[in-house]
């Protein structure tokens, strides 16, 4: 298999070609958001300079072009995750909005008193809070699947928590803190046996590994554009057509209607039923360009490249005695995210010190307080990789790491 030509790829990302605090910029905060290649920036530029109008609303040329661009982007997303039909792809602002849509619209319609909703303890707040609200409203029950010592959810835990009482299982494909790739095929199969539906939060997985929603048999699969080279403010909700059809609309407004009378209305068919108001067309255009870019390189090659980076980084990090790596050590069970702590140094100080060496990482609770409490950690530092990161980036990061403790007055 051909390796990624990262030097060529890097040339497409103008933002990476700068110095930060006197050092070469090393961007390792891809779990938070990713940078944009010139192809994405230009696609948005061309849309804004040639085709911008309000889609689905006008008979004039610009409105028609905007409609075409928007629908084309949707078709590109459909192919990317291999959904059966366009009706199953709904554009949202981001993963958070997609989850809220399902929790509110599906949850309100179908969750009843004493029904159970099952999450993993490693979920991001955006996959916890919407369910807490619906559980309170419906007097339902929220349950968590806990992780084993390797940061994984094992079969016994799945079978203990998902039961005939379970209505919904909502779980991240990849943990944004630990990088764990959860056994979602197993979760989905078992949940379906128990009669539950499954929402998969693909915010961290979709940018990095090939996702096939039909093969997974996920009922809902959601993700954000800005973590996969696209702009902020465009996200995706995939849902199986028959389930989406059974759910009432989430937001009410323009473009999601069929007929509106003084006291009642009928709604547009899928997917427009869930797309009220003017949509983020330039975001959709950017997302299409990002998918073109990623697939042109090949998701399998991106995955392989990141695996190489994780292996290289883990190996170096594990050899430093005061660095503690969280999450699975088995490379087959983790993606391109590594959370760690340094003895005696708070993660925020680690982040500030690395920043002074030009290295951008994330520190804190990563919007996953229940997981941090479960791991008994107040916070961690996190590096997360993408296709444009290199071996040199990791070398610079490791060198920075070796300097951290000195700044706080420790010998090494």
């Amino acid at each position: 298999m051909n390796k990624l030509n990262v030097d060529e790829i890097k040339k497409d990302f103008p933002i990476l070609d700068q110095r930060m605090n006197g050092h070469r910029l090393v961007y390792l905060d891809n779990g938070a958001t990713t940078q944009k290649p010139i192809q994405v920036i230009e696609a948005i530029f061309y849309y804004n300079t040639r085709s911008h109008g309000n889609p689905h609303r006008g008979a004039h040329q610009l409105s028609i072009r905007a409609t075409d661009e928007y629908d084309l982007a949707k078709e590109r997303v459909r192919q990317f995750i291999n959904a059966k039909s366009l009706e199953e792809i709904i554009f949202t602002r981001n993963t958070t909005e997609s989850i809220n849509l399902i929790a509110s619209a599906y949850g309100r319609e179908f969750v009843k008193e004493n029904d159970e909703i099952v999450l993993a303890i490693s979920e991001h707040h955006s996959n916890i809070l919407p369910w807490q609200r619906i559980v309170k409203e419906k007097k339902a029950i929220l349950k968590y699947m806990y992780l084993n010592e390797d940061g994984r959810i094992d079969t016994e835990e799945i079978k203990e928590k998902i039961t005939k009482k379970t209505k919904i299982v909502s779980i991240a494909h990849m943990s944004n803190v630990l990088g764990t790739i959860h056994p979602i095929e197993e979760v989905i199969n078992y949940a379906h046996k128990m009669g539950a539906i499954v929402l998969v939060d693909g915010a961290q997985s979709t940018p990095h590994i090939k996702v096939d929603v039909q093969e997974l048999d996920a009922d809902f699969y959601v993700f954000s554009g800005h973590k996969m080279l696209a702009p902020m403010g465009i996200g995706v909700l995939y849902g199986k057509k028959e389930i989406l059809e059974s759910i009432p609309p989430f937001l009410m407004g323009g473009d999601m209607i069929e007929y509106v009378y003084e006291k009642e209305a009928t709604f547009a068919p899928l997917p427009y039923k869930f797309e009220a108001g003017t949509q983020n067309v330039e975001g959709a255009v950017g997302l299409k360009a990002a998918i073109d870019y990623l697939e042109n390189i090949g998701m399998d090659k991106i995955e392989e490249h990141e695996r190489f980076l994780v292996e290289y980084a883990l190996d170096k990090m594990l050899s430093i005695p005061y660095v503690n790596v969280q999450g699975p050590k088995d490379l087959n069970k983790r993606g391109g995210i590594i959370s760690f702590t340094i003895d005696d140094v708070h993660p925020h100080d680690v982040s500030t010190i690395l920043d002074s060496y030009g290295i951008a990482i994330r520190a804190g609770h990563h919007c996953a307080q229940p997981l941090m409490r479960y791991l008994k950690l107040p916070a961690t530092s996190r590096v997360s990789f993408y296709l444009y990161n290199t071996k040199e980036d990791i070398d610079q990061f490791i060198e920075g790491l070796r300097n951290v403790r000195k700044w706080l007055g420790y010998g090494s």
């Binding site: 605090n21 140094v345 708070h346 993660p347 925020h348 100080d349 500030t352 010190i353 920043d355 002074s356 520190a363 804190g364 609770h365 941090m372 107040p378 916070a379 700044w407 706080l408 007055g409």
Partner: protein, 141 residues
């Protein structure tokens, strides 16, 4: 950005020493303060007799900046009156916001004057001011 102006000897010493990090016996006031976005979480404990802060301490977790700032503040407010302590809080916040730059006026902040450079590091300002805001909450009640 110059790390030397942030991670000074004094901040390191306060961060590591922990001489103010302990629970008090029967404190009169307990006030918790935290930065939800980053997880700094401290609890101030105060013993107050006739408007004078007789003893003070803190417990909790946080970065070196938040821990050192808290410890420096506690050294400063011990045996001060409530009004004096509130005035110190105002001066400290004024220094961080760069509203107070007069050296003589800042002198009363003693050790904590080293935190003045934190305003060059916007992401860390909230770490430096946490304890001071918490103290203000605690004693203005």
């Amino acid at each position: 950005m110059d790390l030397n102006s942030i991670y000074t000897q004094l901040i390191m010493e306060h961060n590591k020493s922990g001489h103010n990090k302990r629970p008090l016996d029967n404190p009169d006031i307990i006030e918790r303060g935290h930065n939800p976005s980053c997880g700094d979480d401290i609890t101030l404990q105060l013993k107050i007799a006739e408007d004078i802060i007789e003893d003070a301490s803190y417990t909790g977790v946080g970065c070196a900046i938040s821990q050192a700032s808290t410890s420096m503040m506690i050294d400063l407010i011990k045996s001060k009156s409530i009004d004096e302590a509130l005035n110190l809080v105002q001066t400290f916040i004024g220094m961080i916001k760069k509203e107070i730059i007069d050296e003589e006026e800042l002198e009363k902040l003693e050790d904590s004057i080293v935190l003045r450079n934190i305003s060059n590091m916007p992401a860390r300002v909230k770490c430096a001011v946490l304890a001071w805001h918490t103290l203000k909450e605690a004693i203005s009640k």
